[in-house]
Symmetry: C2
Subunit: 458 residues, 2 copies
Amino acid sequence: MPVPAEVLTALEKILGDRLSRSKSDLDLHGRSETYFPPAPPDAVAYPETTEEVAGIVRVCAAHGCPVVGWGAGTSLEGHALAVRGGVCVDFARMNRVLAVHPEDMDVVVQPGVTREALNRELRATGLFFPVDPGANASLGGMASTRASGTTAVRYGTMRDNVLGLEVVLADGRVIRTGTRARKSAAGYDLTGLFVGAEGTLGLITELTLKLQGQPEAISAGVCAFDAIGPAVETVIQTIQLGIPMARIEFVDAATAAAVNAYSGASFPEKPHLMVEFHGSPTGVAEQAETFGEIVADNGGGRFEWSARAEERTALWTMRHNAYYACLAARKGATALVTDMCVPISKLAEAVEETRADIAAATIPGPILGHVGDGNFHAILLVDPQNPMDLAEAKRLSHRMVDRALRLGGTVTGEHGIGMGKLGYMAREHGDAWDVMGEIKRALDPQDLMNPGKLVRQG
Amino acid sequence: MPVPAEVLTALEKILGDRLSRSKSDLDLHGRSETYFPPAPPDAVAYPETTEEVAGIVRVCAAHGCPVVGWGAGTSLEGHALAVRGGVCVDFARMNRVLAVHPEDMDVVVQPGVTREALNRELRATGLFFPVDPGANASLGGMASTRASGTTAVRYGTMRDNVLGLEVVLADGRVIRTGTRARKSAAGYDLTGLFVGAEGTLGLITELTLKLQGQPEAISAGVCAFDAIGPAVETVIQTIQLGIPMARIEFVDAATAAAVNAYSGASFPEKPHLMVEFHGSPTGVAEQAETFGEIVADNGGGRFEWSARAEERTALWTMRHNAYYACLAARKGATALVTDMCVPISKLAEAVEETRADIAAATIPGPILGHVGDGNFHAILLVDPQNPMDLAEAKRLSHRMVDRALRLGGTVTGEHGIGMGKLGYMAREHGDAWDVMGEIKRALDPQDLMNPGKLVRQG
């Protein structure tokens, strides 16, 4: 059902020429990063204030018109596809850092600020925002998908790093959740409820985020293993010793090969761990040395580490480029990126099974992941001209989901539900999924906030 | 309205003699740790399984009978008072540790396990559960009140340490939230919703908790300051340097005096910080030394620290006994314990104002707190025979709440709402409190789960 003309008129009254109906804008906001078919909205709104967002939602609520939030468009599961049309609310113009509180180590931002922009703005303060999903996502989007990434093992996910929110609800009410105090026992954790809700309960219009002090010293290093088992065992022992890894990343042999081809590196074509420590100069040196001993105990190769910034940057640039290196490993390919997370005791088994599965498949799929969290991805490489490839990728992904649930894990560690994982919610959550639906109906009885996502449909 | 006879008959069918109506049992479960008038339930149930809990709730739901959970009875805000009568569900017999997963560093427990019992059981594994609210509370109760305490600055609150729950809902459905994976982006964070819900949305019947490795080395120490300002500044600078304090506690001059009198110590009668570091032997030594330098920079007294277990135990025994030391400072007194939490930049101001307020009051009130979180308590000492004392304590507490909200904080950092803070929820949360009510009505439309608490009363 197209958006009624009176809705557009009312929205234009609020937004003027910041309501767009241009084909290019609709197309842009109807696409996702991956394989889902396009689903454009009927209009794109570019609000500049919370009041404008509330006005948009009130107009839409009065006419039963869907509302879909849009951050940087970097979601991998089609979260922002307007599958029932309606108005896409693009937060690009709500991109200001509103307040930095260095003593309290927090910051108040609008949802359109990207994590890179935030960290640029923070540089002079000695503080940084640690959550790093790879993409330069918007902070509103990162909160809505409960993003995490390479640093979650040390600093947590978005769940752990949002102190409070301002949210526009489905009826246009504006609420604030949380405070700038570090903790509270005052009632239901609404902040935690909206983080990860994928825009289905309301639109986040402001975030208060925890910051971290830039570490005095950083050490980082890499080592190879003959198999995944000893690599995971190394990580388990390091965590149990209480050695605080800031990042601990796994790449498999296929990823190492792809990185070599892409960036001229010369990693052995074996599983690798890449690790980083944050602390005092003596602290990070000691941590790296101890880690090296654990690696040796587990039969790993020589652990080469450095506290020098340029070597560290080279290492993490390589890790961050691993996705592109994998893409380049198959000419013209696009990727279906899987995302499973299991208890770490099951990680070696999960990766080994997945690797064997992919080895027997018709498409390649390097594996990499955030091994400290038990979270990994297969980058399933698909020829977009060949529908059999996508079918094969979906089959492999489906088997990974089965594996995650069988091993006591979750169908998504950090990418979210969006369009891609809705079919697995009943299996992961059982009756708890109905409870999610009951909450959704209580807060959005018309089902207008990002409809078609997260809760049971119809 | 008394519980109908058919409810009691049906419950006896489920529980046999584990349904108690003895006066002593009703009285025991109608009392709280503090000043609230008794409110006994009509019966006390001692279930042994989740199925029995679900059976109890179904019977009660069919007859509109309230259900109130009971852990160890250590709550300070009257959370478990049966203000509308009904059935008290005492989890004392659901006190088993169901599974320890050392590699995954998690544990599955029944709600009646206390934190001390859990840590006794874990001792041989090299792991421990870090949340320490002081009292030997049950883990179900700690989750329900979102407890924290001295170690939250390092290890977080119950919000951060519960991976998953089993919950019996108001209609008797049993759901599971979360998984044993360390993180998930699969839908609404129901775990976070039930943690801190104070039993108003359902009864927690099983918890999966994160564990920590017992640190290789611990250092701890204490130092005096001439004023609260430099003490707080010391903490802020230490956090900003990224030095990971495992505990950082503040006691004021009155508390120091009370501790001296109670345990024969000889602290200067000044504000003090007590701090603990967890890590490697060289790490905790370096951290203590650096902390000592920051103390000196801020004009604090000599920072005496030790890595020896006996000295450390003496220090924390003193800190844990501070509550009793304060009670003993006024003969025959009981306490109204306040609980405010502010952004740390406002902490010195908050404590100074509170201290001045108490100095001008008719009752004494030593102050102590978890300074790394911005959370502190005044132990307002009340002669139970003198109603003017309680009125004065409530007046001071009320002014602390005003102060917390004015300074951007919360009316309760860790004790919860219960009976004591319900009147402040509208002011702290505004329309967000209504959202809590909407969630409550969606999940408990008959208002039977711990009625009279947390949400707006009809």
